[in-house]
């Protein structure tokens, strides 16, 4: 066609990015890749390879080693061998390596971008302008953390050998999110890239070689789910970091329950995109383009649920449809393409199936007039309107360019609809009113809130979810903590396995007082639920005996129904989180005041179980501990991050919600308060199971809090057989976190039973904690577990 004709048609024409360099690179490797282990290429033990395919045309790009358990073992051994040498380097030396990696990523940026697009199908514009620059940024930022590690985290040591499993939607970016913080904190890593997209990870292995990263510090083992499973189950891995589907996250949580492996999970989402009537609607539409039509919608935080205020719904839908008509879908290596290929056939089939199901559920499906390329895996941009919360497309992650739209009437209803999901990764809020936007942002259950923007990421800002979107953050200070352990905790001795009380062991023995004396007035200790002293549902009690076997009294035997009632009460007391931090501090101080008044009587009763000396120390230190957390209540601040945009990125420490606490046996009063107080200080509501050794402490505690203006339900205490109550609490889907401080077996049980709603789990791993040492047993470590970070991005400008 002549220039003259093009002058008339004004078409865009093709603008292909040259793939020659990438093809040359593949050719140099003979289109066949081994594992990268111990600083060099290593053939798979079983000799198996699989193909990785260009989804834009279905053609094979290369064959890649299929990792077996033996390969994973070799990689873990290499990482372990490299670990001590890597850790022995100065932080500055590690910073230099990370800096070199960042520079090399920039030097090879176009090769990496082209390779990523060929392997994944995402438009070259995205890999070139978004993925790869963010990869470099992540390594630069973490080179800085490596440099500052000693000053900023003096009490921490690295986890050790870290196993990392990443998804196919942002292959190299997810690698950077995993490897940069791990290396900066002195860990060595074994990373398994996604089966569909291993190539850039292998190119990264070469970058590590070029940067001179010591052999074994970074190992890349390619393969499928079985390879990942071998990594998760490897006994010599200290931490697993996973990004991927929620179901796999659940399986990993279960598989690692009986180990001491640290775990961070970045899982799925069904992120709401809330549009208020005072939003800049044209900009909102572009926000959607950057949200659900970014990376073909294969984004865990894609704004896939459009919630529109009724008054602007019709206008917005019209604008969205107009905009969808100008999206260009086609060969991802074309520089002027908006939507590329879906990563694989299986994913494309899944999108088809879910959209069909949505339509069957009553949704109206709208797609612009587009011609899809005849080869490769493509799906057109799709709008499903008239979607209701009950529809499968409103609940399930589609991971495709499909937007499900519904309406709301008021800001309160918008929040309700937004939070009506098992996920909690990200939310977009569009409104020109800062009052509306921030008020809503504060109420959303999500780790990231983007105000008048979408899908902004930066190494300085933590990314991660609430609820079944996982736990742990990537990026920023909070992200580093996922790869660090407190040095004292890592070397703390193990507690002996507890002889847990069980119904059969309970002996029924009469214990009369000394003959002839006037009997003491019977003291009935009850459960404490919703601010009321209540009898246990079971109608049974358990005997509590002193160290000398003397019967001290009877504690109520709580059961699953009591836990159920306590969780309901805790949930209803959510206003505790909304109380001002100053107000919470006042309540805590008041309880310290009241405890000091009852010091002697409480110590006296406690002495029968722990001895006079410990009892006195427990009460005195408890007063101090309460003071500490009253002090912390209004001081555990968040941060304002500095991402390279004109905006304020606020990292807020938010209460997790409802926390179940299995208190330690060994310090019935001090152990209880050491865990419950930080939770209350930040605004969590608590269901606590007191020390099995001395559940009678409940009676002292509720009298204390009843007289200290603690709102009913903020703290609930249910005594009973710990193993039974732990099970009910850990399995309860309305509990947001379970803390278990018992022996190793109960820690494992807590983890295994938490998978239902993927609640956050914090345990002592069965280690002994010196509750009497304030250096160890109070402070930030506890507060960090009592909170989760929400990052709110607010761009500004007029």
């Amino acid at each position: 066609m002549s220039i003259a004709k093009k002058f008339v048609s004004m078409e865009y024409g093709p603008a292909p990015e040259d793939s020659k360099e990438a093809t040359t690179w593949l050719d140099r490797h003979g289109y066949r890749f081994q594992h990268f282990i111990g600083g060099g290429w290593q053939a798979p033990a079983a000799g198996e390879y699989f193909d990785t395919v260009d989804p834009s045309n279905g053609e094979k790009l290369a064959s890649v080693a299929q990792g077996s358990a033996a390969d994973v073992d070799a990689a873990v051994k290499a990482a372990r061998a490299a670990s001590s040498g890597w850790l022995a380097l100065s932080p500055h030396a590690r910073a230099r390596y990370l800096y070199a990696i960042a520079r090399l990523v920039q030097k090879h940026s176009r090769l990496l971008a082209v390779l990523e697009t060929m392997d994944n199908g995402k438009p070259i514009r995205e890999s070139r302008d978004i993925d790869i620059p963010l990869v470099a940024r992540h390594f630069y930022h973490h080179a800085g953390w490596a440099q500052l590690l000693k000053q900023e985290f003096p009490e921490y040591v690295p986890c050790g050998v870290v196993g990392q499993i990443i998804p196919w939607n942002f292959p190299l970016l997810m690698l950077a999110w995993k490897i940069a913080p791990a290396l900066a904190t002195g860990n060595s890593v074994v990373l398994k890239p996604a089966e569909f997209t291993p190539l850039t990870a292998l190119a990264f292995a070469e970058i590590c070689q070029e940067a001179g990263v010591p052999a074994g510090v970074v190992n890349i083992v390619t393969g499928d789910g079985a390879t990942g499973e071998a990594l998760v189950k490897h006994p010599d891995v200290d931490k697993i970091a996973f990004t991927g589907p929620t179901e796999v996250g659940r399986a990993i949580r279960a598989a690692t329950a009986t180990s001491h492996k640290r775990l961070s999970l970045e899982l799925g989402g069904k992120s709401p995109f809330i549009v208020f009537e005072d939003a800049d609607l044209d900009s909102t539409v572009e926000g959607l383009v950057d949200g659900i039509w970014f990376n073909q919608g294969q984004v865990c935080c894609a704004g896939s649920r459009l919630l529109m205020q009724e008054s602007i719904a019709e206008a917005l839908i019209a604008k969205v449809q107009d905009r969808m008509s100008t999206l260009r879908i086609g060969a991802p290596l074309d520089k002027a393409i908006d939507i590329g290929a879906i990563v694989a056939k299986v994913q494309l089939d899944r999108i088809h199936k879910l959209v069909d199901q949505g339509v069957a559920d009553g949704a109206t499906c709208w797609q612009p007039q587009v011609t899809l390329p005849s080869r490769g895996f493509y799906y057109p941009p799709t709008l499903l309107s008239n979607v209701h919360p009950t529809s499968v497309v409103a609940q399930q992650e589609i991971f495709g360019p499909v937007l499900a739209a519904m309406t709301f009437r008021t800001p309160a209803e918008a929040v309700e609809l937004a939070n009506n999901t098992v996920y909690g990764l990200a939310v977009c809020v569009w409104s020109e009113s800062i009052n509306v936007a921030l008020h809503v942002a504060a109420q959303l259950k999500a780790g990231v809130v983007w105000v008048n923007c979408t899908n902004l990421f930066d190494a300085s800002c933590g990314f991660g979810g609430y609820r079944e979107s996982g736990y742990g953050r990537e990026g920023g200070r909070e992200g580093l903590l996922e790869y660090l352990e407190l040095a004292w905790f890592k070397s703390a001795p193990m507690l002996p396995a507890a002889k847990t009380l069980a119904p059969l062991e309970a002996k029924l023995e009469e214990d009369s007082g000394a003959p002839g004396s006037t009997p003491a007035i019977d003291r009935t200790v009850k459960l404490y639920i919703g601010g009321k002293q209540t009898r246990p549902d079971s109608g049974y009690s358990i005997e509590v005996r002193a160290t000398d076997g003397r019967l001290l009294g009877e504690a109520p035997l709580g059961n699953r129904k009591d836990i159920r009632n306590a969780v309901e009460a805790a949930r209803k007391a959510a206003s505790w989180a909304k109380a001002t931090a100053h107000n919470r501090a006042q309540v805590l101080y008041y309880s310290a005041e009241n405890l000091s008044q009852r010091r002697d009587e409480i110590a006296h009763r406690l002495a029968a179980v722990v001895g006079e000396k410990q009892a006195a120390a427990e009460v005195d230190l408890s007063i101090e501990r309460i003071f500490s957390y009253a002090a912390w209540a209004d001081k555990f601040d968040g941060a304002v991050h500095n991402p390279p945009f004109r905006n304020v990125a606020i990292a807020m420490n938010e209460a997790i919600g409802t926390v179940g606490v299995i208190c330690p046996r060994e310090a019935p009063l001090l152990g209880f308060l050491s865990l419950v107080m930080p939770a209350l200080a930040v605004g969590d509501t608590v269901i606590a199971v007191p020390s099995e050794a001395y559940p009678l402490i409940t009676g002292d505690l509720y009298q204390l809090f009843d007289t200290s203006d603690l709102p009913g339900g903020a703290l609930n205490i249910v005594s009973g057989y710990t193993s039974q109550l732990l099970k009910t609490l850990a399995e309860h889907d309305d509990v947001d976190a379970i803390w278990c401080f018992g022996d190793e077996a109960s820690a494992a049980a807590a983890k295994a039973m938490s998978v239902g709603n993927l609640k956050q789990v914090w345990t002592n791993e069965g280690r002994a904690i010196d509750w009497f040492n304030p250096q160890l047993a109070e402070g930030r470590w506890f507060l960090e577990h009592a909170t989760q970070v929400k990052n709110i991005w607010v761009p500004y400008g007029e």
């Binding site: 002058f7 024409g13 260009r328 011609t371 400008g797």
Partner: protein, 344 residues
């Protein structure tokens, strides 16, 4: 090869001649703008999020590109949408004649031949001068089809008495100018005096008669995108045929975010009223690459029927030189030098 799915917009251009339509938006034929009564609710409800607009403008540039013959075709289109401009205190008749000669023949014949585009008879859309040079330009351009546009109304400040500004328009119209570029009183925008702004532009429109009126908002003075959006809406309600960014004399000229806000206002006005308003970014557009970015933005936001001189103009003086160099590169494969092209 990418799939060009939205060319139905270009097909729709064939409907343009039916019923007096001058443009098409999403398949809907649009009439020339005859203005509407001032609607203050509309003006007040304007929402512009600056960061989001900037982000879109930034990403738009990275999302679209044209290469090879397509690029050459687009650059030719840019020339045909150009108001070749000279607006300096040192302008003379001879200087204007030189500009007009360039307007008639913006590309060397040899390059035209190499590109195979002689049949297109590429020329710029208009020459834009002060009133004093209207007659000179008309003579120099006679028979070429290139329009003469006069800047008017106390350009560039627009602060002379209203009656004088209106008379200035009349004089230029009487002198034979084909198009009139007027400037608004920026103070009306700062003061929120929308009625005053509306009355002013309406008075200009009346004086222009049937001649197309381009209303310069002075976006570099207005500073905020919200001001730009409101002023755009009021100017269109008062009957603007084009809205234009800048005089070229302000501290900041035509930027893509400003352009995006004005384009969106045009689109909304078209959707609400069924009438089409043209757009003219002016000042600061100096490179071929910039011209393609603007054309692509217009194509994306308004559709192909706006990518024509009837609906879109560049106000530029230096742009043509860079486009010529790019076209020569396209024709010869060698990078060109500025001095190889006849100056304006």
């Amino acid at each position: 090869m990418p799939v060009e799915q939205n060319e139905f917009r270009s097909a729709a251009r064939h409907d343009l001649h039916s019923g007096g339509a001058i443009a098409i938006l999403s398949g809907r034929p649009l009439l020339p703008n005859s203005g509407i009564p001032l609607n203050l609710d509309w003006v007040r409800e304007v929402r512009v999020n600056t960061s989001a607009v900037e982000r879109r403008a930034q990403s738009q540039v990275a999302r679209r590109t044209v290469k090879k013959e397509w690029q050459a075709a687009w650059l030719l289109r840019a020339i045909t949408c150009m108001d070749l401009t000279t607006l300096s205190g040192d302008d003379t008749d001879e200087r204007v004649r030189r500009l007009c000669a360039k307007a008639r023949h913006p590309i060397q014949q040899e390059i035209e031949r190499q590109l195979g585009i002689e049949e297109l008879q590429i020329k710029v859309a208009a020459v834009c001068v002060y009133h004093a040079f209207v007659e000179t330009a008309l003579q120099a351009l006679e028979g070429s089809g290139v329009h003469v546009a006069a800047v008017s109304t106390g350009f560039p400040a627009g602060l002379s008495p209203l009656a004088e500004r209106v008379n200035e328009i009349r004089r230029s119209v009487e002198a034979g100018a084909h198009e009139i570029d007027v400037v608004i009183t920026r103070a009306h925008v700062f003061g929120g005096r929308w009625q005053a702004l509306y009355d002013e532009v309406a008075a200009f429109k009346q004086a222009c008669g049937s001649k197309p009126m381009k209303v310069i908002l002075g976006t570099g003075d207005l500073m905020t995108l919200r001001n730009v959006a409101r002023a755009s809406v009021v100017a269109m309600m008062a009957g603007a045929d084009f809205i234009k960014t800048s005089t070229g004399k302000e501290p900041r000229n035509a930027t893509l975010p400003v352009g995006l806000v004005m384009i969106r206002a045009i689109r909304e006005y078209a959707q609400e009223t069924g009438m089409a308003v043209g757009f003219k970014p002016a000042g600061g557009i100096r490179t071929a690459k910039q011209s393609i970015d603007w054309l692509a933005m217009i194509k994306e936001e308004l559709g192909l029927s706006w990518v024509r001189a009837e609906m879109f103009r560049f106000g530029a003086s230096g742009l043509l030189g860079d486009i010529e160099r790019q076209l020569e590169h396209h024709a010869t494969g060698r990078y060109s030098a500025e001095y190889r092209h006849p100056m304006a």
